[in-house]
C-alpha cells in the first residue's frame, strides 16, 4: 500500500471536491436553499464540455464556456422558480429534487446512456514523479486549479464590494436589505456563480470521472458532506471540508474498505451533533 500516493490523491480529490462544493456552500449559506440540483449542474457542465469539445473547442475553453452555460441556467432556475418560494424550504427541496430528475432525463435523451470519456488535456497526460511517487499529472493540475479558484473566491469575498455584500447577506439578510443592499439581485448573482462553479467542476472532473447517467447522484452526497462538515456559507469551511473529505475518502476506502461509507459519513454526523453549524460556519441568528 502506497500511503504517499493516498496522501497526494487526498489533496487532488479534495481539490475537485472544493470546486464542486464551493458553489453549494455559497448558495446554501446565503440563500438557505439546499440546492439538490447541484450534482445535476455538475453533470450538465460535464456534458456541455463534451459537446463543446466535439464542436472543436479546446479543453480549457470548453470548461469555461461550459461553466458559463451552466451559470446562465442556474440564473434562470433562481429567477423563475426559487425566487417564488422564499423561505419555503420543503418546497425548495422538492423543486430542486424534481429539477434534478428532469435534468438527468434530459441529459439521457440528449447524450444517450453510454458513458463518455473526456480526454485529458495533452499537456497534462501521463504520470509525474514527485519525490519518487508516480502521480497523475492531471491531478496535480486539479490541485493548482482548486487553489487558484479558492484564492480568487476568497479575494472576491473578502476584498471586493460584491464580496462584502454577500457576506452581509449571509450574516443577516434582513439587516443587509435594510442597509440598502439589493439582496434579491445578490441571490441571482450567487446562484449563477455557484452553478457556474459546479458546471466548471464537471468539465474539470471529466478526465477523472468521465460523464455518465448517474454522475449527478454520485457527486451530490459528497458535496453535502463537505458543506455540512465545513459549515454552510463559509468558503474556508468548504475548502477545509473538501480536503478532510478527500483524506477520509482515500484512507477510509484503502484501509477500511468495508467501512468506507462509515468513515466518510460518521464525522458528518458527529459534527452535526456537536457543532450543527459546521466546523467553520457561524450559527444562524
Amino acid at each position: 500500500m502506497n500511503l504517499w500516493l493516498l496522501a497526494a490523491n487526498s489533496i487532488a480529490f479534495g481539490g475537485l471536491l472544493f470546486l464542486l462544493s464551493a458553489g453549494f456552500a455559497l448558495i446554501f449559506g446565503l440563500m438557505r436553499i439546499p440546492n439538490l440540483t447541484h450534482g445535476s449542474l455538475f453533470m450538465l457542465g460535464a456534458y456541455f464540455g463534451v459537446s463543446l469539445m466535439a464542436w472543436g473547442l479546446g479543453f480549457w475553453a470548453a470548461a469555461l464556456v461550459g461553466g458559463v452555460g451552466v451559470a446562465v441556467l442556474g440564473g434562470l432556475i433562481e429567477r423563475l422558480l426559487l425566487r417564488r418560494l422564499p423561505g419555503a424550504e420543503l418546497a425548495q427541496v422538492l423543486v430542486t429534487l424534481g429539477l434534478s430528475f428532469m435534468i438527468a432525463d434530459t441529459c439521457l435523451m440528449q447524450w444517450g446512456g453510454d458513458p463518455i470519456s473526456i480526454e485529458t488535456p495533452a499537456a497534462l497526460r501521463g504520470a509525474s514523479h514527485v519525490a519518487g511517487v508516480a502521480f497523475p499529472t492531471y491531478r496535480l493540475g486539479v490541485i493548482v486549479i482548486a487553489v487558484t479558484f479558492a484564492t480568487a473566491l476568497w479575494a472576491m469575498l473578502e476584498r471586493t464590494r460584491l464580496g462584502a455584500m454577500i457576506r452581509a447577506g449571509v450574516d443577516d439578510p434582513m439587516m443587509a436589505r435594510a442597509a440598502g443592499i439589493r439582496v434579491p439581485l445578490l441571490f441571482t448573482v450567487v446562484f449563477c456563480l455557484g452553478s457556474g462553479l459546479a458546471g466548471f467542476a464537471g468539465v474539470i472532473g471529466g478526465p477523472i470521472l468521465s460523464v455518465y447517467p448517474g454522475l449527478d447522484q454520485d457527486m451530490l452526497p459528497l458535496a453535502l458532506v463537505v458543506v455540512i462538515l465545513g459549515g454552510s456559507g463559509s468558503l474556508v469551511g468548504s475548502f477545509v471540508g473538501s480536503f478532510v473529505v478527500g483524506v477520509l475518502y482515500n484512507f477510509g476506502q484503502a484501509l477500511l474498505p468495508e467501512l468506507a461509507y462509515v468513515v466518510l459519513f460518521l464525522p458528518m454526523l458527529l459534527v452535526l451533533v456537536v457543532r450543527p453549524a459546521g466546523l467553520f460556519g457561524r450559527p444562524s441568528p
Partner: protein, 411 residues
C-alpha cells in the same frame, strides 16, 4: 379490471361486426399476435444497458418482419426504472393487463429476483440477461431461460486462459461490492486456483466510487489485475488505472470490456484480455447481419445486452416454430424453449442445460486498435461452455454459491 377488459373486447367485437356488415369480406380467422413483454430500464444509471436491450429486441423483430412462426409479433415495453418495486409493477402490468405470452428482460439480478416467484406463479416464460447464479442453480425457476450466461460462466474460461496460456501465477481481483462482482470473482478464483494460480487479494470498491485511487494504490506484486466492473465503471476504472501509470496486464469480465463500451474507451483499453459469451467479431451469417443492423439503425457496435435480447428473440422464435405458434400451453412452450438448439446465432451454436441456462461459446478477446478504432479480437474460443465449467454438476451445486467470502482467500 375484468369489467374493463370485457368492455374493450365488446367494443372490439362490436366494431368488427360493424365493419363486417359494412364491407363484406372473406372470413379470415385473424390470428391473435404473439405478445412479447420487454422489461427494461430507460432512465437512470442502468439505462445504458436497458436501451441496448430494447435496440436488440427491436432489431430482431425488424429482421423477422414482425412475424414469429407465422404469427404477428407485438412488443409491449415496460420501464422498470431500475428498481425492484418498479419491476414488480411492470411485470404485473405485462402479465395481467397486457396478457403477454412471455417476457424478455429484465437487466439486473435484483430486478429479476423481485419478480421470479411472481412470473413462476403465472407460468410466464421469462428470458432474462440477469446473471444471478442461483436462478439456474440452487433455486431454479422452471420458467426461466438464460441465453447470455451466469456471472461466472465467462470467468471460468478466463481464469483457465490466464493460468494455462498466459502462465500467470498470481492476480488481484477488483470489482464492485455486489453479488454480480462476488460471483464473477468467485468463479475466476475457483478455476485459477485449481490451475495452480494464486489470488492475492480481492478488492471490492462500492458501486458508487468516483475515484478508484485508494484501490489502485494496492495493485502491485502480481502478474495481472482482474477487473469485473459493470455499467460506466469500467471506463472510469481503466482511465484512472492508466493515469496512475499502472502497467500490469488487465483481465476483464464480459461487461467490463463489452463491445458496446469500446467507443467510449481510449488507448487505456488496448491490450486488455477479456472473456465473453458474445463477441462482435464472430464471423457467422447471423452475427454479421445483427452487427450490421445495429450499426445501421443505432450507429452502435452491439455488446452483450443487445445480443442477449436478439438471441432471446431467436430462442422464442424457435420454440414457437416447435409448438406451431401456440403459446397457450405454458408447460409445452417453456419445454420447447429449453429444448431449443440453434446453430447460427450471433454467439454461434448454443443450447440449454436442464436448468434453462445456456451452453455455448466463450470467447477470449484482446482489445486492439484497428484502423483507428478499438476492437476486441477473438484469440481463442472455448466451445460448449456451461455454467458448471468442467466441474461435476452435483459437486458444484453442493458447494455454496460464490460470494464475497467464498471461496475464501488462501494463505
Amino acid at each position: 379490471m375484468s369489467a374493463r377488459l370485457g368492455r374493450r373486447t365488446f367494443t372490439k367485437r362490436a366494431g368488427a361486426m360493424a365493419m363486417a356488415g359494412a364491407l363484406p369480406m372473406p372470413a379470415i380467422a385473424e390470428d391473435k399476435p404473439v405478445k412479447i413483454g420487454l422489461l427494461t430500464v430507460k432512465t437512470g444509471p442502468l439505462a445504458q444497458g436497458g436501451i441496448q436491450m430494447e435496440q436488440g429486441i427491436n432489431l430482431f423483430l425488424k429482421h423477422r418482419g414482425k412475424k414469429l412462426a407465422g404469427r404477428k409479433a407485438e412488443l409491449v415495453v415496460g420501464d422498470t426504472g431500475g428498481n425492484p418495486a418498479g419491476t414488480k409493477t411492470k411485470a404485473q402490468e405485462l402479465i395481467e393487463r397486457d396478457h403477454v405470452d412471455f417476457i424478455v428482460g429484465p437487466l439486473a439480478a435484483f430486478e429479476l429476483l423481485a419478480i421470479s416467484d411472481y412470473v413462476a406463479q403465472h407460468k410466464c416464460p421469462i428470458l432474462s440477461l440477469a446473471a444471478a447464479e442461483d436462478m439456474t442453480q440452487r433455486k431454479p425457476n422452471p420458467y426461466f431461460v438464460r441465453a447470455s450466461g451466469t456471472s461466472a460462466q465467462a470467468m471460468h474460461p478466463l481464469a483457465d486462459y490466464a493460468a494455462k496460456e498466459l502462465k500467470y501465477k498470481s492476480v488481484i481481483t477488483v470489482t464492485e461490492d455486489f453479488a454480480f462482482g462476488y460471483e464473477q470473482m468467485g468463479g475466476f478464483q475457483r478455476v485459477f486456483e485449481g490451475d495452480g494460480g494464486k489470488v492475492a487479494k480481492k478488492l471490492w470498491p462500492p458501486i458508487v466510487t468516483p475515484d478508484y485511487t485508494p484501490y489502485l494504490a494496492q495493485l502491485s506484486g502480481v502478474d495481472a489485475v482482474v477487473s469485473g466492473f459493470a455499467g460506466s465503471n469500467p471506463l472510469k476504472f481503466m482511465k484512472q488505472y492508466k493515469d496512475q501509470g499502472l502497467t500490469l496486464p488487465i483481465l476483464a469480465g464480459s461487461v467490463a470490456m463489452d463491445d458496446a463500451l469500446l467507443k467510449s474507451f481510449g488507448d487505456e483499453a488496448v491490450g486488455a484480455i477479456s472473456c465473453s459469451g458474445y463477441t462482435a467479431d464472430l464471423d457467422t451469417p447471423s452475427n454479421k447481419k445483427f452487427v450490421e443492423g445495429m450499426v445501421a439503425d443505432y450507429g452502435n457496435i452491439p455488446g452483450i445486452y443487445a445480443a442477449g435480447l436478439y438471441m432471446s428473440g431467436m430462442v422464442a422464435e424457435a420454440a414457437l416454430e416447435k409448438t406451431g405458434g401456440k403459446t397457450d400451453d405454458k408447460e409445452a412452450f417453456i419445454a420447447a424453449m429449453r429444448g431449443v438448439s440453434l446453430t447460427d446465432t450471433p454467439r454461434g451454436p448454443f443450447h440449454f442445460d436442464h436448468l434453462g441456462n445456456v451452453i455455448g461459446n466463450a470467447f477470449i478477446r484482446r482489445c486492439e486498435r484497428k484502423d483507428g478504432k478499438l476492437v476486441n479480437t477473438t484469440i481463442k474460443t472455448y466451445k460448449d461452455v456451461g455454467q458448471f465449467w468442467t466441474f461435476d454438476e452435483k459437486w458444484f451445486l453442493a458447494q455454496p454459491v460464490y460470494s464475497r467470502d467464498y471461496p475464501p482467500l488462501k494463505g
